[in-house]
């Protein structure tokens, strides 16, 4: 920094430095073109009516739009439930596969498979499996003698949300697991040895040694998943398209519909901004939690 400052003061630009600037220039240009420009453009669009005049209408409509409010609440319900289940399952699996169990590497590899599938494929697979008449889920339940008449999964207003959450949990628990496992393996052995010497129980060790030391990994896993869950789109689009009625319509779906089906880009941009702000506030909360630990 000091060198750079003195150069600037002297007004010297060496050929080397010029070359460096030139070399990074394309990257910066691409960055500007692909992220900064669209961001600014979409801010502009969100303050425009369909005919292009400046307006606040897109933002005031948010407050009275039933579809938006229901999409927002569905997004929160979806994210909260999926996050909790994925975290608990992921943590359980990570603890299990961090210990010495048989064929550990095979399990680890198998667990990662769902994550590698495109969400669209996951959506199609679950749509077939959850089909209430021909699907594998009801078929299996039937063979155990369960009456599946009421289990219409994606067609029932109550079960539809559960259906899309199940698919999300199936696909993304491995992601939680992966980060938490990495976190577990980064914990040094010494604290455990100390706890053992002090005669603490397994639960006490978990509570006082594992959890605090795993906190950064937990927070990062939660942060990444939360951001992802709030903008969920693909597998819901395939599984239920937001239905029945509005039962599984999240903000991502409503924004897509508004922009590309109803060609109301201003309103879609305004909703995207609300989503961006919400995501940012939640993320900032996580990051603050991360920092309090470090200081």
């Amino acid at each position: 920094m000091a060198r750079l400052g003195s150069e600037r003061l002297q007004g010297h630009v060496t050929p080397d430095r010029l070359l460096a600037y030139l070399l990074i220039a394309p990257t910066i240009a691409v960055l500007l073109a692909l992220t900064i420009y669209p961001l600014i453009y979409s801010i502009k669009v969100s303050f425009q009516s369909n005919s292009g005049t400046a307006t606040l209408q897109n933002f005031t409509r948010l407050l009275t739009d039933q579809f938006f409010l229901s999409a927002l609440s569905h997004t929160f319900v979806y994210a909260a439930i999926a996050l909790t289940v994925e975290f608990l399952l992921g943590l359980g699996l990570a603890l299990l596969l961090d210990s010495q169990i048989r064929a550990r590497n095979v399990w680890r590899t198998l667990l990662l498979v769902p994550m590698m599938l495109p969400p669209v494929v996951v959506g199609v697979v679950w749509r077939l499996m959850l089909n209430s008449n021909f699907g594998a889920v009801n078929g299996t339940l039937k063979s155990f003698g369960v009456n599946t008449d009421a289990l219409t999964w994606t067609a029932s207003p109550k079960l539809a949300m559960a259906s899309v959450i199940i698919a999300d949990v199936w696909q993304w628990t491995p992601f939680m697991f992966l980060i938490l496992l990495a976190g577990l393996q980064a914990i040094p052995r010494e604290p455990y040895e100390a706890a053992l010497t002090d005669g603490s129980s397994a639960w006490q060790t978990f509570q006082h040694v594992t959890l605090p030391l795993l906190k950064p990994a937990i927070l990062i896993a939660l942060l990444l998943r939360t951001m992802d869950l709030l903008r969920v789109f693909d597998h819901i689009f395939i599984l239920t398209e937001g239905g029945p009625g509005l039962a599984t319509e999240t903000l991502g779906l409503y924004i897509y519909r508004t922009a590309f089906r109803f060609s109301n880009f201003g309103y879609a941009a305004a909703m995207s901004f609300v989503l961006l702000i919400i995501t940012n506030i939640i993320s900032a909360g996580y990051i603050r939690l991360l920092q309090t630990r470090e200081t």
Binding site: L19, L22, E241, G243, L246, F262
Partner: protein
């Protein structure tokens, strides 16, 4: 420093090659088509045309869900990327309202024709005009789909049921079949009397409109205000829910695939469906009920039964780079000889002469029924806001069918929401 020159040279080259690809050859056409049986026929035709004329044809193929947004964005941005676009007829009012299509009449006149061929089915050619039926011509119809009423004639004979001409007949037959065919399906399972699509959006609306119209419902009054919550409208929805009791559980999330599967597996006896499914019923590898399905007219109630029309149109964007060559291709692809080839590939035609063509009728015995259905069909309400209106309407239909709302509440809320959509656009 030498490196700097190399970089500049590379950038310069890239820029100049971009410019070169920007200039267009007048012997090249670009078509935006639907990936599916409709688009495939046009793709084949394009290949033949290339060989005959030497004109190069580029095909941009998109799945149905993306085709509309692709075309809308390109036409609106006036990029001139496409010389011809395929469009589903409910999208037409939107394109027409944006004034992004070429008026075809002057191009026809230049070729010595006063207007489109009389051979086109009136309800099909009307779709390409703005205003509907009477206005200027912006598109020609290529695929002549309209709904048909599918029913299992073997089951109707078995239970002494008469041909379903009214919705009351349908309900009575659905009840009889559901009650008496608890293990009558080819696989041993239950045969449901009826199967419908009631997933929110297009599916629920498409299956509801023929009932709604037959019960005397109208979506908009003469001044463009929504009127779905009239007593007729509410009665139609109540009827749909009643009929749903004889539909397989979960029908509130069914789309075309689920309905098709039930019919082909022999687990449902009646349905409103599109002609694209007809050929599957004569294919034993797909159908367990080969030769047992009949294709009739939409049932009546207070008003005569009318099908919803769903034609594929072809239009020339206003900013197309090659309008004259595009018009030549459009006329060639929609003339009798080419459309016959398309029909043989599985697309219902839009020309009367082809629906009565002996060779085609021999191959597609349902053609007379299809022509009757098409000639008496109705378009979806013509508004540039259709996508939004259909979405809102479909949500409430789906809510009523899944038991979340009563028919009255669903129709009242739908009406209020459609009104908000219309008011917002003013």
């Amino acid at each position: 420093m030498r490196l700097v020159f190399v970089i500049i040279a590379v950038i310069g080259l890239a820029v100049s090659s971009c410019q070169r690809s920007g200039t267009q050859d007048t012997r090249t056409l670009t078509l935006a088509i639907n990936s599916g049986v409709e688009g495939d026929a046009l793709k084949q035709a394009a290949k033949d045309y290339e060989q005959q004329t030497g004109i190069r044809i580029n095909i941009a193929e998109f799945p149905y869900a993306n085709l509309f947004e692709k075309e809308l964005i390109d036409l609106n941005a006036r990029t001139g990327a496409y010389d011809l676009i395929m469009l589903d007829d409910p999208w037409f009012p939107k394109f027409a309202s944006l004034n992004v299509l070429t008026d075809l009449t002057p191009l026809l006149q230049k070729r010595g024709k006063s207007g489109p061929d009389d051979d086109f089915v009136a309800t099909s050619i009307a779709l390409g005009r703005e205003p509907y039926q009477t206005g200027a011509l912006y598109a020609l119809p290529y695929v002549g789909n309209s709904q048909l009423f599918f029913y299992r004639k073997d089951l109707f004979q078995k239970h002494n049921l008469k041909e379903p001409l009214t919705w009351d007949d349908v309900l009575a037959a659905a009840k009889t079949i559901s009650e008496n065919e608890a293990s009558g399906a080819p696989g041993g399972g239950k045969v449901y009397g009826y199967v419908m699509r009631a997933a929110q959006g297009n599916a629920a609306v498409a299956d509801f409109m023929p009932i709604f119209w037959a019960f005397g419902g109208e979506m908009f009054d003469a001044s463009g205000q929504p009127t779905v919550n009239t007593p007729e409208g509410i009665a139609a929805l109540k009827f749909m829910i009643e009929l749903g009791k004889y539909s397989p559980p979960g029908y509130a999330s069914f789309n075309a695939d689920e309905v098709g599967a039930h019919l082909l597996q022999g687990t449902a006896a009646m349905s409103i469906n599109w002609p694209a499914w007809i050929s599957s019923f004569s294919d034993p590898s797909k159908s367990k009920v080969t030769g047992r399905m009949e294709f009739g007219q939409l049932p009546a109630a207070k008003s005569p039964g009318r099908a919803e029309i769903g034609n594929w149109l072809i239009a020339i964007p206003r900013d197309a780079k090659n309008i004259e060559a595009a018009m030549d291709f459009l006329l060639w692809a929609t003339d009798g000889a080419q459309m016959k080839l398309s029909a043989q590939r599985g697309n219902p035609p839009t020309r009367k002469s082809l629906f009565t063509d002996p060779e085609l009728v021999a191959k597609f015995p349902s053609y007379p029924a299809q022509l009757r259905s098409l000639e008496s069909s109705r378009p979806r309400p013509r508004t540039p806001l259709w996508n939004e209106v259909e979405n809102a309407f479909g949500i409430y239909l789906s809510k009523a069918n899944s038991g979340e709302l009563t028919a009255e509440d669903a129709m009242n809320q739908a009406n209020a929401e459609i009104k908000r959509i219309i008011d917002r656009s003013k």
